[in-house]
Amino acid sequence: MLAWTIYLSFAGALACLLTPRANPRATRAVALGTALAGLACGLMGAVQFKPENGLEVITNVRWIPALGIDFSLAADGISVTLVLLTGIAALAGVLFSWNVEHRTNEFFAFFFALIGGVYGVFLSLDLFLLFVFYEIAIVPKYFLIAIWGSTRRDYAAMKLALYSFIGSGMVLIGMLAAYAVSGLASFDLLTLAQHSFAPEFQRWAFPLVFVGFAILAGMWPFHTWAPTGHSAAPTAASMLLAGVVMKLGAYGCLRVAMTLFPEGLKMWQHELAALAVTGIVYGALVALVQKDFKFVIGYSSVSHMGFVLLGLVTLNEIGWSGAVLQMFSHGIIAGLLFGVVGRMVYDRAHTRELDKLEGMGLLKAMPFAAVTFVVAGFASMGMPGFSGFIAELQVLIGAWQAFPKLAILAGVGIVVGVVYTLKTTAKVFFPDKPDTADAHDDHGHELEPISVQERLGAALLILCTLVIGLHPRLLLDLIVPSFQSPLFDGLRKAAGL
């Protein structure tokens, strides 16, 4: 069932491309259908999935026998969680891009090509296949930003494409070296993970692959693509970039770098944790001084992804499960924040400068956007009751066990996060100045009301973060048993578990 998410998304991309250019409504219908079908497949797969089985193989077909490459898909609780996230983000993305009128069919074709690649990465068990899906996701990102983007879109799109490609190049070198050195003539992740590579090899191969993936996860100091890319991208693309694509990177770190080279992780654990915490604090501090609404959210993404990376390198289970939960949680919350900023505010006000937004009386003009942003802001700050709280708490507990000093610093990052979120919310929606006359956009036009699709999309995302926040076991019961599967044997051994 889960595998159908991939096939349906690619089929949907093709179907969107074939809908007539002059008929955006047909394209939207196809897109909505594809997103719903993908989410439905993901949900059904999740219901049928038995977490206690560990890794469930879905498909395994010989693909290129000469190099030991199989078309093999498999899922554990981590994959299922992230597949669900992708399904939700895709549906919300379609709802929030209902107003795309320019080249609609191509827009959704690129959109679903990206989604298909993302599903593929989360479900691949073969390293080659995983890499293929990972790279398939790069090109649509470029075109989504370059064609439908805003501020400095050329620059942002190219920067994002090259950063991604450099990252995947590092991964490619590492995986080819692992293939050659292991001498197993196989790209099967399970086989490679059970091979113990020489420590000297892991010492350079691990950081190569880990950082290669972490570039896409927005690891400091390779994060600079993220704020520019997020802010230039059209709303749906920023939702996907922050919501899902950054998770690709983190997932790759966990699934490939850490399982293949656990000893390498041990050697570099402290350096990577320091980078992750730097990302948390730096991202939060920079978000504090941004003048562009989207840049605030962009840097907050860097900060929150720092928690994911910090959780991954703690080398204990609570840190890992916190990291995976944070991937899900941040995917939902970032989607929501970008939905408000990009679709609700920017598409109407035509400006993202906080100073200009301040005088627009947005609270009166669109109370729904204000409420959504306040809720999303609370979730993002890590208020109890929302998914971000339980995820970041787990990461901090894990980090406290491994590196107490850094954990305190990460806590400081959370405090700064509260400050910039409150500051931005207050400035945009609750300004000190009394509301001037009617709200109008940058060109003096009236603001159109929030559409049904936006309300639905926002409600979906808020629901998800609340449900997981109040009942985290829904996902934790999936995630935690995954670390018992043979894929993580080496990692558990290195962690002394």
């Binding site: 190099l67 790279e135 370059a146 494409a161 090259l162 190049g169 070198i173 080819l176 070296a177 050195v181």
Partner: protein
């Protein structure tokens, strides 16, 4: 020698004979019967005959699979060179189809006859193991190509390109001949495998190294590797488009195949006199050539505004990648190299096909001439995207698997010390650079809007068909590389390399 020998040789040479007869037929038909008919009619007849002749030659090879060795390696038929010859004939057919609509010449018969003669040269080149025959057939190829480059008599650029190509080519032929004569002097034979044995018994000899350098210079010119590449950008730019496509595809395949044969089989035992006899003497030389070709080709391509020159520099860079294949072990070297060069040739000829339509309809090959291509010719633009992304090495296209296999093959040779890791790293890094300039072209085609008065392009049916067919082939070979790979492996397995 008796006459029966010649009869056997004649039947073994049947595919070549068919192509020669077709050349004569095309010439005769055009000169004797069709002089008064319109040019488009003559072009169609000549191109049709060429297609039929090449198809006949391929058909003959399929129906009469022969294996044999005539006159001590002068002419050899084995499964591998049959595959190579089939590829060359296929590329000739595509070139002929692309030429059908061309308007640069009134000498239709001569044009196609020369194309076929060049093809015969390449076929013989692929099926000989004797240095004399290598040289003679290489000259046949080169002389035909010199004339083809100069075929646009109304264009100064064409004449200049041909002169440059000729002067460089003549020089390199001199080097090659000098190298061959040294080899003959040293070993007393012109037969490559026997020569290899003699070089082995000779031990380290400076003269053999000099001969190697001469041979590398000679072939380096044919494959446009740095520093023997100077002719390529001008020839690609000035030559009539189908000729440039043929130089970039057919000529590359044949030259690389015979280069690999001479170096890998002939110089396999050229040692440096140290204990490590396995490290062949050509490795340092070729790794330097590969490295500077990749770096210079890719960096120079960034600066180009003419798409033809861009393709020329990318061809130089790809020659560098292909040289990495030489460092794989035994048969893997041939398999990875031939897979790469075949897919590269198909991709390049497709890219030239798109370029040809744009040149004919828009009037130039500058980047800006591609603006809005996705609106003006959607199918063509989509195919262009396939070709360029394949050249950049994005999965699931053929170019990705080609690179992947090439790098994997080079790394698995002596996999414990990974001596060629630096070349692979350089290759991957340079692929990232190449994505930048390929995206520049695609940005014009997909992102930039065309002028307000730009009309849809009238794409000739044949060009459309060729381009779509090639794009489909690139996608299929990328998704199912096993089809070509297994053929190559099987053929190489029978040879026992």
């Amino acid at each position: 020698m008796n006459t029966a020998d010649y009869l056997a040789l004649f039947s073994a040479l049947a595919p070549e004979v068919i192509v020669v007869l077709t050349a004569l037929l095309v010439l005769a038909a055009d000169l004797l019967g069709l002089q008064d008919t319109p040019r488009s009619y003559r072009m169609s007849i000549a191109s049709g005959l060429t297609t039929v002749g090449c198809a006949g030659a391929v058909g003959w090879m399929f129906l009469n699979p022969t294996v044999g060795n005539w006159h001590g390696g002068m002419f050899v038929i084995d499964p591998l060179n049959e595959v190579v010859k089939a590829v060359i004939l296929l590329l000739t057919v595509f070139t002929a189809m692309l030429s059908t609509e061309a308007k640069f010449t009134r000498h239709c018969g001569e044009y196609f006859a020369l194309l076929l003669l060049a093809t015969v040269g390449m076929m013989v080149l692929a099926s000989t193991e004797d240095l004399l025959m290598v040289f003679a057939s290489l000259e046949l190829v080169s002389l035909s190509l010199y004339i083809l480059v100069a075929f646009d008599k109304s264009s100064r650029a064409s004449a200049e390109a041909a002169l440059k190509y000729f002067l460089f080519g003549g020089m390199s032929a001199a080097f090659l001949l000098f190298g061959f004569s040294l080899l003959y002097g040293l070993t007393g034979t012109t037969h490559v495998p026997r020569m290899a044995y003699k070089i082995f018994t000779l031990g380290p000899d400076p003269l053999a190294t000099v001969a190697l350098v001469m041979v590398v210079i000679g072939f380096g010119f044919k494959i446009a590797a740095v520093p023997f590449h100077l002719w390529a950008p001008d020839a690609y730019q000035g030559a009539p488009l189908p000729c440039a496509a043929f130089i970039a595809s057919g000529s590359k395949v044949a030259s690389f195949f015979v280069f690999a044969k001479v170096v890998l089989l002939g110089f396999s035992q050229l040692g440096w006199g140290n204990d490590n006899a396995a490290a062949s003497g050509w490795i340092p030389l070729l790794s330097v050539v590969a490295a500077i070709s990749m770096v210079l080709g890719n960096l120079a391509a960034i600066r180009q505004t003419s798409v033809r020159r861009l393709l020329a520099y990318s061809a130089i860079a790809h020659a560098g990648y292909m040289l990495i294949g030489f460092f794989a072990l035994g048969g893997e070297a041939f398999a990875s190299l031939l897979f790469y060069v075949t897919t590269y040739a198909l991709t390049t000829i497709g890219a030239f096909g798109v370029l040809g339509v744009v040149e004919a309809q828009v009037g130039g090959d500058q980047l800006k001439d591609f603006a809005g291509l996705s609106r003006r010719a959607p199918v063509l633009a989509a195919c262009l995207m396939v070709f360029l992304l394949s050249l950049a090495g994005i999965p699931p296209l053929a170019g990705f698997f080609g690179k992947f296999y090439l790098f994997a093959a080079a790394l698995t040779n002596e996999s414990q010390s990974l001596p060629f890791l630096w070349l692979v790293i350089l290759g991957v890094a340079m692929s990232c650079v190449s994505l930048y300039y390929y995206l520049q072209v695609l940005k014009q085609a997909f992102v930039v809007e065309a002028d307000a008065n730009a009309r849809p392009l009238a794409v000739p049916f044949l060009a459309h068909a060729v381009v779509v067919l090639l794009a489909a082939a690139v996608i299929l070979l990328g998704c199912m590389p096993g089809w070509l790979l297994d053929t190559l492996h099987q053929a190489i397995g029978e040879l026992g390399w």
